[in-house]
Symmetry: C2
């Protein structure tokens, strides 16, 4: 019988009897009362404080409780947030510039974006229990490849700005990192140019913004690595880039094209005119604007660049039974990140939004999307006609798709007129106004918009009259740019066009994927905790969804209030004084933080400070981010206990004293340890002139107990998609804001369109000023509902749960790296290496866990052939016990192999997982029974998640290198070569 | 390649190029273009018109197209409805009277109410693919039984008013229908009393409303069948009914208690003080008020009454493998409806809402709910103290739970003051105001409420001060009424209290249930069509959810606008002039319609007209409704073709000429036929003084092609949960509004609290004026989005789909009852009787279909050992083909049995369905292979829904008679007796 954790205080006991009961901490935290007692008993401690004393160095414990108010009950929270949200003014935005309104099909909204079975998924590293989203992401890749006319596309990047930076770096790498000139067309989106510049600077790439039609590439043959064009460009022009592309190629450069998927349904594709790469935002394919994000950026390239492809790539392979199957083509944890040699650090991307865009494509099909694009173009033609009639000049008349740049003389009166009727236009420059139309525009809206451009007192013109222009059937862009090639011919884009079929397709894919709706996902370093419904509900409120990131700031008061409150809470939690909400992933946070450190040193004239110390155990993104920040990575060793080797650190800090820029430490460490030496490490680095970057991926183990600032750090990022309840979405979205000291605050990233960041802001590191703003209500709500005490209790339980499990499993497996009291932090590592000689590796245990209904813990990271387990506070003791019992049962199975009762190589571990098809085959000739394979524990007969395929054949997939949808016939894949 | 069905017209082709593309008909209708052509080809007709000419008598074809406007695109529809909804004013309602605000746990809102995998389920007649909702409904029954202290509870009734009527009729039946006095306490809810009176009248039961404490039951021993009490009563009093109950019993009567689940957590249960039945509304257990519905009414009774239990009852049994399993205890189609002897006709109930209430209980557990109730009681105590201090008298001081009746002198000034601050109170009578508190009340709201009662100029009193009253710990009701008995001790109510656990429990149950998210559910007479997301979204908008049904009418302008528009559209569709939106199921519609007919005859002095002709083929609810309306049912035969036997009809109409009240016909007939003689039948009945009731269950085959009024009917009901897209919710909610001629309109049902209905309105037949109002936006949206042409196209496709399937299957099975052109209507019947001699019955085909991933069509109704198939327009040709191929493959399996290749009684049909457990058992000794059992068609390897148990053992369940949750141990069920 569970007593509530009420966490509501009042000095008046009578008033307490009126306190609301829909308190959140007891819903968020999995165990209470008796269960906590039982776990403490297992650990042989009296209470949580005693456990913590054995776990966390007392020197870094926070002196005061978190100054975050009492938890707000769930219902009041939503009332409060609705009030805040209502302060946003939802104008009709025709600003364009990479973001437009879109008609989100409600069947996708409800069944993907609002569905925990989709949004609580993890990145599909375990393909046997992730075929659904792998198929959907492959649909996405196929769609991108079709539309761009390029053979290889990845499964999403963070935003168009960073995608452009990735293209630049791909070009730079293609030039063997020797050619440092990158030319950007002046009519690329301003935020894209700004992101490029930020990224270029630390690689010493020279970005030249130019009129590329009048740029002499031949003259720069030696230094030119590439060019970025935009198609249609930011002012709406649709230009023929074929000759331009040829001349860039002649000069040895690569051509990257920032483009628009909707336009490409009517326009010749970049691939067809010779582009090497294409990129852009898939937002307008059914993903709300959300004040800037999250949306999926896309990236496609020629085959010759595929080894340099940033981000995740889905591939086709076979399973052990020989059936077609999908997988992450770069299978092990973020191997595409090249650590010290990296030009990209992308890890968390935008999987959920890529899935939405893919589903939008599946629902509409090639003709549906083309019709939408044609209608947008028709609307634009009629608008153009109205504007002509009103006597204005259209700068790009005769070459537009959906965007007009209009010469209006003095813009301000038109902008005012627009504002008065709730319309946002783009003020390109003093005499020029931009208008971008979208599929949601109605005839009435068009009419209202045309009115805005009428001269005062002129008689109103009707859309009906103006639409006569459409009868002439003239193309609004050069004829040679008409698309003639086919796209989206695969059956998947031609089968699910009724809502019933669409619903079933979504649900069918969903049914193949294990997510938090099924069982715990104890991924070390990933903090797969509850993504509560009350946190998620506001994400799809129109007040947050339907606002353009570059809307005038007086329209986003609701957002700004929420963002400020969130920043304040994050400051209190980290102990820092500045916060930037711009980075839209943890890796982006690292990069932003290091760039801020760099800016700080440079401002002090310490331009030589470019050595970054990184422990050998660090996540791959750390060295990658350092490299991308122009730093030299120097590795610091760890000792046998998994702790930083203090002597090595001191030696290296001293050695590089004059050039020391920073150290990057993860705390608790990537081994899950509260290293006692952390403050000393910070001190050493400070003493040698460096600053301390704290990777906050493991912040869930700190909140309320200690703070990055108290530990001695100068800046840290927070993975809001780990600690602060943004769901993982199958590989994104995420958010990685950074917090820093007062000294670093002036350098926090800015933005070219919307003022934000510090006084000496570095350039933007994301395309939107506040990253993926529309998911920030999740973290805001989590903090507000938990309150200071609830947050602290969550940390306490996260650590208790980990230690409880470590203790139970410690009786059966070796646990790596516990401290001198035998304690771990919020996660721990189980060693599988002792069984390798018996043919059992970590992957076999991971796959066998699927047969027990569980997702594998983090596999072979940070140590090969181990499993790292992080339960989080949200899992109940009952679930922890089920997981432990599965692991213990597996240990028994291993023992049978060790004892020779089952053959090495042919047992339920090596052959795991067991799919339904395998288990129901008429033939069964394995040395263990079907029932042992299928139901190794009794609870599985009542409740089990089934892997939909047998074990993936990675070697085969690597050989095949197929990254697009095939026709559904198996015959398209050749039989496994022997 | 599918062309769109745009259905948007405009005489200007250029303007058409700007028409919106998110048109709904092409999403709602499963097939288009080529697929339609292929189906027509199969039928050997050139176009749909030719097919219709062969299907529907030309005499009844509508002369004009539907005068319903163009279909509104999806996005505009929601914009438009939001505007309408915003006209509702959401005040804080303390009106009580059976409806209160509630804190709906968001995890339940999103994952049950907003989840198509729950809301598109059908009634769980196929237990092997419905164990999830069966468990949840059993949770509901268990909860009701626990709270009321009575051993038998059903799985929901429609509303509290009709539940009270059911109790009265149970008492009446217990008195062998001979004792006709039913006494109702004067402090029952007014709408309950009114519903009772309506229902009593046609049974000639005398309802006496009295002060039951001062009523001499002993004096009425001969006639007294029962008494209805309310506990707490409508004015809030909590009285000790123990002695009263004893005296009713002594006088031979039954005691029914209308009660409140929340109060029962603190109060002695009705069962404990001797009540025979208990009933009420479970709305406040986590179901929004929704302007009156839908919510689940509950009903519990003593064991001796269980054979008279109305509605559906979930029971415990075993499956073929001997495992515990749940099922509908009265398994075959509505056998609990006793046709001509019926006192109840309930069929569609409130399953989805019962599930919500059950989940609310699971989430909170016994202590959680008790804490909520105690807090409500605390709030009420503080309010009482404030009111006392303000100098008012509380009528029920010393005996209240959550409701106070306050003597205020002149109420109007207080009511005005309340209204001014957005508060609704109950005006009980001129000097008395009622206030009912609920779990959502905050301290601020309480304070605001207390202020309303302050005398002008009096100093404000704070809640804090007033709450001192709680320190005295005095009970607010008589001490002997304190609850001491335990409740909700079953593990299911004590395990899922964190959101993560709750989410997984909901999802686990969901995963066992086949719904429209998986495959077509071709249930004849049930019209399982798409329940589109855009239709469903408004249901959970606060503007529709959070409004009390008895709120002042000026607060429900949005609702009234929407209801009027819906009524107008339904008039156009039926050709009638009056509509009542009150009946909240089809059966309630029938009852309402017949009562209106009865009132019409009575008003003309034709009181003797009480014969109702009903075809032998009619749905069980028809004779039941007639009997409940005080009519004598006379059966009319059908001929060998399934048509009404016109000679028999004429003869019987003539014979009963003087007493003829009505005929009830279903059109198309329950055999799915457009009977040619329908107009003549109507004429015959009219000529003999009767009126025509048309059962509109099959209206989906009429819309746009013909109309009930044109056919010759006088009144009809419409199952909005069939034809008009309200989802079936696993057995409700539904809506069964009626439409009628101008002559009948004056009698449309009224309501005692909210004025509605005709000028000479019959009494209410539902507790709320507009039935389950909050789901009416679904039908409103469907009609508006389809437009007249879209609706007509839907009918055409529904008929085409049925004929296509009948034609394909006709090559393999006998199709019963096609017309002279070989055509059926929107459904058709497949005959399984020829195979009975081979041991194959309809149930075997039904269960084997589960192995093919399909829900069975309607089984053995209207003809034993047949399957009735209704595809609806929403299914694609691809899905129709999959279903046909499954049926054809099954026919092949039957042939193997006929040919002796498989033994009679031991084959894949008789042993179907095959659960995963069975198929993976180590032992397999059946005469067919595992793979044949599991994957009889190739597509099943890719996509299959798995039955979670083997075939249910109905005989065992009937013997066991267990209707509550057992502890989870199998041991609690004794082994199958031999
Ligand atoms: C320790 C650590 N640092 C950084 C990251 C990168 O975060 P993101 O995936 O949000 O870019 C991760 C992600 O797993 C991590 O575990
Ligand atoms: C022909 C017919 N009439 C009446 C009904 C009863 O409708 P409801 O279940 O909504 O009460 C049904 C339900 O299946 C039916 O098929
Ligand atoms: O890699 C992660 O998504 O955490």
């Amino acid at each position: 019988n569970k007593p509530f954790i009420r966490l509501q205080h009042t000095s008046k006991p009578a008033l307490a009897k009126l306190a609301p009961l829909d308190t959140f901490p007891r819903r968020h935290i999995g165990s209470e009362g008796n269960e906590v007692q039982e776990m403490l008993k297992q650990l042989g401690v009296k209470n949580i404080d005693e456990m913590l004393a054995k776990t966390i160095p007392s020197s870094i414990r926070s002196p005061k409780p978190l100054a975050i108010g009492e938890g707000i009950p769930e219902r009041q929270l939503l009332t409060r947030l609705k009030e805040v949200a209502s302060k946003n003014k939802i104008n009709r935005s025709y600003i364009g510039q990479g973001y437009t309104d879109t008609v989100v099909p409600n069947v996708i909204l409800r069944n993907v974006l609002e569905n925990p079975a989709w949004y609580t998924q993890y990145t599909p590293y375990q393909p046997e229990i992730a075929q659904g989203r792998l198929e959907s992401l492959l649909n996405y890749q196929t769609m991108i490849s079709d539309m761009t006319g390029l053979p290889i596309a990845n499964a999403s990047l963070l935003d168009e700005g960073t995608a452009a930076a990735e293209a630049m770096l791909m070009a730079w790498q293609a030039g063997r990192r020797k050619k440092n000139l990158f030319v950007v067309d002046e009519n690329c989106h301003p935020q894209t140019i700004a992101c490029l510049k930020t990224r270029a600077e630390s690689f010493n790439i020279e970005v030249v913004v130019a009129d590329t039609f009048h740029y002499s590439f031949a003259e720069h043959k030696k230094s030119l690595c590439g060019v970025l064009l935009q198609y249609p460009d930011t002012r709406g022009s649709v230009k023929d880039y074929e000759n331009l592309t040829a001349s860039v190629h002649a000069a040895g450069g690569q051509v990257a094209v920032a483009t628009d998927l909707m336009a490409l349904t009517l326009l010749k594709s970049p691939g067809e005119f010779g582009a090497d790469m294409a990129l852009g935002n898939s937002q307008r394919f059914g993903v709300p604007m959300g004040f800037g994000g999250p949306h999926a950026a896309f990236f496609a390239c020629k085959d010759e660049h595929k080894r340099r492809m940033p981000g995740r790539l889905i591939g086709v392979s076979k399973d052990a039974a020989g059936d077609n199957a999908y997988r992450l083509a770069l299978q092990t944890r973020e191997q595409h990140i090249r650590r010290e040699k990296a030009t990209s650090n992308i890890c968390t991307a935008q999987a959920l939004l890529a899935n939405m865009a893919a589903m939008y494509t599946v629902y509409h099909g090639p003709e549906g999307i083309k019709a939408i694009a044609q209608r947008i173009n028709n609307l634009t033609s009629v608008l153009a006609e109205g504007i002509r009639k009103a006597g204005h000049t259209i700068e790009n008349d005769g070459n537009f798709f959906d965007t007009l740049s209009i010469k209006v003389g003095n813009s301000s009166s038109i902008l005012q007129k627009a504002a008065a009727v709730g319309i946002n236009l783009r003020a390109i420059d003093n005499g020029t106004i931009g208008v971008t139309l979208d599929e949601a525009v109605t005839q009435d809206e068009l009419s209202k918009l045309i009115d805005v451009f009428q001269k005062d007192g002129a008689p109103a013109v009707s859309v009906e009259e103006l639409s006569a222009v459409l009868e002439q059937n003239v193309s609004t862009f050069p004829n040679q740019l008409q698309r003639t090639s086919a796209y989206l011919q695969h059956p998947v884009f031609n089968s699910y066009h009724s809502e019933t079929e669409m619903l079933r397709y979504i649900h069918h894919l969903e049914s193949k994927d294990l997510s938090l709706v099924h069982s715990m996902i104890a991924l070390g370093s990933c903090t797969m905790k509850l993504n509560a419904t009350t946190e998620m509900i506001p994400v799809t409120w129109p007040e947050f969804s339907n606002i353009h990131p570059f809307a005038p700031v007086d329209q986003s008061e609701g957002y700004l209030t929420m963002l400020n409150e969130l920043s304040d809470d994050l400051k209190e939690i980290t102990g820092f004084e500045g916060v930037s909400l711009q980075p839209n992933s943890g890796a982006q946070g690292e990069y932003a933080g290091l760039r801020v450190i760099r800016a700080y040193h440079h401002a002090r004239g310490d331009e030589q400070r470019n050595v970054c110390l990184i422990p050998i155990s660090a996540h791959g993104t750390n060295p990658a981010s350092a490299a991308m920040s122009g730093m030299d990575v120097v590795i610091v060793q760890c000792d046998n206990d998994g702790n930083l080797d203090m002597e090595d650190l001191k030696a290296k800090a001293k050695k590089h004293k004059d050039r020391l820029a920073a150290v990057m430490i993860t705390y608790p460490s990537t081994f899950g340890m509260f290293e006692a030496g952390v403050s000393e490490a910070c001190k050493v680095v400070h003493e040698n002139g460096g600053l301390v970057y704290l990777d906050g991926a493991n912040l869930n183990a700190q909140i309320g107990l200690t703070k990055p600032a108290e530990i001695g750090a100068d800046v840290c990022h927070m993975n809001l998609h780990k600690t602060f309840c943004i769901p993982h979405g199958g590989g994104g979205p995420g958010m990685g804001p950074i917090a820093c000291t007062k000294e670093l605050e002036p350098y926090l990233p800015g933005h070219p369109v919307i003022a934000c960041g510090g006084q000496n802001a570095i350039g933007p590191i994301s395309a939107a000023p506040y990253g993926s703003a529309s998911i920030l209500p999740i973290s805001w709500a989590y903090i507000k509902m938990m309150g200071g005490e609830g947050l602290t209790q969550a940390t306490r339980l996260a650590i208790l749960n980990a230690n409880y499990m470590a203790n139970r499993l410690g009786e059966h497996y070796e646990i790596l790296y516990t401290n001198e009291n035998g304690m771990c932090g919020h996660e721990f590592i189980v060693d599988i290496r002792p069984f390798v000689e018996n043919g059992i590796e970590a992957i076999d245990v991971a796959k066998r866990l699927q047969d027990y209904g569980f997702h594998s813990p983090t596999m072979s990271w940070p140590v090969t052939n181990t499993l790292m387990i992080e339960p989080t506070e949200s899992e109940s003791k009952a679930e922890l016990d089920r997981f432990c019992e599965a692991m213990i049962s597996i240990r028994g199975e291993i023992q049978q192999v060790i004892d020779g009762k089952l053959p090495k190589g042919d047992n339920m571990l090596n052959s795991a997982p067991h799919s339904i098809k395998t288990l129901m085959a008429d033939k069964w000739d394995r040395p263990y029974s079907r029932e042992v394979a299928a139901f190794p524990m009794p609870y599985l007969r009542e409740k089990k998640f089934w892997p939909s395929i047998s074990r993936i054949d990675d070697a085969y997939g690597d050989r095949m290198e197929l990254f697009m949808l095939l026709s559904m016939q198996t015959s398209q894949l050749s039989p496994t070569p022997s």
